[in-house]
Amino acid sequence: MSHEYVPEIAVDREGQEHEVQGWQDDMYGAKLGFWLFMFTEVLMFGAMFMALTYYFTLHHDDFLIASSSLNRVLGGTNTVVLLFSALTMGLGLLKMRHGDVKGAKLMIWATILLALVFLGIKAVEWTAEYNHGVFLGLDALQAGNEHSKPFGQILFFGMYFTMTGIHGFHIIIGIGIMLWLLKRINAGKVTPEHHILHFNIALYWDLVHLIWVFVFPYYYMIGAGLTGGAH
């Protein structure tokens, strides 16, 4: 809405005036809506974690062996990168609130950069796994041929690629909406007084990194106790 929104006034029988909340300019409503949306993301990943936990009890040893073969150095680095990106995102929001638009933009760019680093490391990791023959659709992760891994390991890697894939998809979406946010800031649509879009994108980014904080131990760390770890 380009023109200023003026809320309506309702008058009760005693003549007292009550401001009417319209759908325009409802910062609290926008926050509430986005929190609810985040809740659906939690449930979505929650269901996958539940399936994973259940299969961990069914195929305990296979899961540990498969987990021990993941690269903890790259995974750990990515964790740190994402945690830092959450920091820059948060700082950017603080700067926006305090009226420092330029600093906020800088911080958003830093977040985008860190997100790209995350995706780059992810790409290196997946390529290495592909070269080892461990990837969705390759023989090792198909049942019933001479290269087949045991069922439990196929399940582990299958869920690993599914979940890190969906998580990576969220990162890509995140980069997209951050670029859009920058465009809106440049167009003067997101300002220190009107920064709900920035707020919600920061919320989204927090959830994305938070999910990774659970993905990392569940996939990379459960097999850390076994020998033959990082390669």
Binding site: E8, A10, V11, D12, R13, H18, E19, V20, Q21, G22, W23, D26, Y28, G29, L32, G33, L36, F37, F39, T40, E41, L43, M44, F45, G46, A47, M48, A51, Y54, Y55, L58, H59, L136, G137, L141, Q142, A143, P150, F151, G152, I154, L155, F157, G158, M159, T162, I166
Partner: protein, 551 residues
């Protein structure tokens, strides 16, 4: 003549000149609701005629005119359309959109553009679902539940149907989210939660289910797609997976989904009963809170779909108990409605007839549900026509009948026209009688052992199928006639006036009929209960220009 929402609209992008583009891009909740209705009822009739095809096939034992595989695809198509395309968007998408903002005195929903986007997401899901009829190896033949491992191994086009269900689920989530924020934020000043009309309560409870349950089935469908593409064995027992996990994850959503269907329908009932009894609703708070508690308890009863899947006995007993428990708030509502009518000044208009008919059909549907919630009985009745008859009594005789009740109730509001009461009543009686002849014999057939989803049967069941067929013909004729009557009324009917039912809730206090673009001329201050009647007349009256009370 002042302008109504048919004459002008706000658009998501720009200000297009053509009427067609104005409809395509509209963000007005009333127009979006109408478009949902148009698409949904089109699909409804597609699914009805698929069902008629199956009834024809089952008219006599043995193959008549389609083979078994086609029959499997037919009941899958019927189920997928009825569940995902029709009844899950259902009442919230149509009346939630059209009426709910009017009832709380809002100008629109909280996120009108998201609402527009959601509608088109729904259309995208519909297109994908239907196009899988012609793409690949034909429509899925798994039944609408997509049970693993069959759905993972069949050669038909399950993946597209799964993708469609996922997208439709997302549309459902976003609708729920939008309504939740709307109800929390945009109520008119003075309208606390316990001054909301009960339909809004129904939509509110439903929205929570949409939001909390749908993501789980969404990701389950994604996992099934991953399984089908890459063979990672998640739900395939031959690869170390567990198909029962699929059933659990599926029903964690799909059982709350049946409450998602029925709660807004109960809301419609709670609107119609006090208005046509001209009496304040009995036990307002118990109805409101029972909606909330059905949503809550409904979340933890999914296991009753898995009695025969080898689940632990202790889990069966717990799920059985919880399922009985969920019948309690439903019973409370029934008593409240009947108590509302007691000593009321009952007006037997068409909406009231539909509501009263539903009290009968849903009571049968609900009570037969309690019988199959018992573990022992269910072992006998699982996957028989008894179950089929049960959920058609509950969903068709409950949700869809109340959807029709709401359709007759709010028809004058939405279109500004009034239908012929006589013709609409004839349509009701055809539907009601046809419905009972169609479904009631199935209870008996199922009890005697007729399994569901079979394309052939033993000769001893022939009589039940023949009776059902007769019912089906009456029912479908009634349905077509009902829509004919309403469409005729819309085209040539007389003007309905502003408040033809002498109703009290805010949606009937519009300055014009049909309502203008931004609803009430002023937002009222709400210092009254939703159904205040005295001596058979509405208490609250407004000056429709200033929206100040003048009683």
């Amino acid at each position: 003549m002042s302008k109504s929402y048919f004459d002008e609209t706000h658009c998501a992008i720009g200000h297009p000149k053509s009427t067609f583009m104005q409809w395509m891009l509209t963000i007005d909740h009333k127009r979006i609701g109408l478009m949902y209705a148009a698409v949904m009822f089109t699909f409804f009739f597609v699914a009805v005629f698929t069902a008629l095809m199956m009834r024809l096939e089952l008219y006599a034992p043995g193959a008549q005119f389609i083979d078994g595989d086609t029959f499997n695809q037919a009941f899958t198509l019927h189920g997928v359309i009825m569940v995902f395309l029709f009844i899950i968007p259902g009442i919230p998408a149509v009346f939630g959109n059209i009426v709910m903002p009017l009832m709380i005195g809002a100008k629109d929903v909280s996120f009108p553009r998201l609402n527009w986007f959601t509608f088109w997401l729904y259309i995208l899901g519909c297109i994908i679902a239907v196009s899988s009829l012609w793409v690949g190896n034909g429509f899925a033949d798994t039944g609408w539940t997509f049970y693993a491992p069959y759905s993972l191994n069949t050669g038909t086009n399950v993946i597209m149907t799964l993708v469609a269900a996922f997208i439709l689920g997302m549309a459902s989530i976003l609708t729920g989210l939008n309504f939740l924020v709307t109800i929390h934020r945009l109520r008119a000043p003075g309208m606390g939660f316990f001054k909301m009309p009960l339909f809004v309560w129904g939509i509110y409870a439903t929205a929570w289910i949409q939001l909390l349950a749908t993501p789980v089935v969404g990701i389950t469908l994604i996992l099934a797609i991953m399984e089908k593409y890459f063979g990672i064995g998640i739900f395939d027992p031959s690869k170390g997976g567990d198909p029962v996990l699929f059933e659990h994850l599926f029903w964690i959503y799909s059982h709350p989904a049946v409450y998602l269907m029925i709660l807004p329908a109960f809301g419609i009932m709670s609107e119609i009963i006090p208005v046509f009894s001209r009496r304040e609703i009995f036990g307002y708070r118990t109805i409101a809170l029972s909606s909330a508690s059905i949503a809550g308890i409904g979340y933890i009863v999914w296991g009753h779909h898995l009695y025969t899947s080898g689940m632990a006995d202790i889990a069966k007993v717990i799920f059985s108990f919880l399922t009985f428990f969920v019948a309690v708030p439903t019973g409370i509502k029934f008593y409240d409605w009947v108590a509302t009518m007691y000593k009321g000044k009952i007006v037997l208009s068409t909406p009231m007839l539909w509501a009263l008919g539903t009290i009968i059909t849903f009571a049968i549907g609900g009570l037969t549900g309690v019988t199959i919630a018992m573990v022992g009985v269910d072992i006998h009745l699982q996957d028989t026509y008894y179950t089929v008859a049960h959920f058609h009594y509950a969903i068709l005789g409950g949700v869809v009948f109340l959807l029709f009740a709401g359709m007759h109730y709010w028809f004058p509001l939405v279109t500004g026209k009034m239908y012929s009461e006589t013709k609409a009543k004839i349509a009701f009686w055809m539907n009601f009688i046809g419905f009972n002849i169609l479904w009631f014999p199935m209870f008996i057939a199922g009890y005697l052992g007729m399994p569901r989803r079979y394309f052939d049967y033993l000769p001893e069941f022939e009589i039940y199928h023949k009776i059902s067929f007769v019912g089906a013909i009456i029912f479908i004729t009634g349905l077509v006639y009902m829509f004919y009557v309403l469409i005729q009324a819309w085209r040539k009917g007389e003007d309905a006036g502003l408040n033809p039912w002498d109703a009290t809730t805010l949606e009937w206090h519009m300055p014009t009929s049909p309502p203008p673009l931004e609803n009430h001329s002023k937002v009222p201050y709400v210092d009254f209960d939703p159904y205040e009647y005295k001596n058979g007349h509405a208490v609250v009256k407004f000056d429709l220009e200033t929206m100040k009370r003048i009683d």
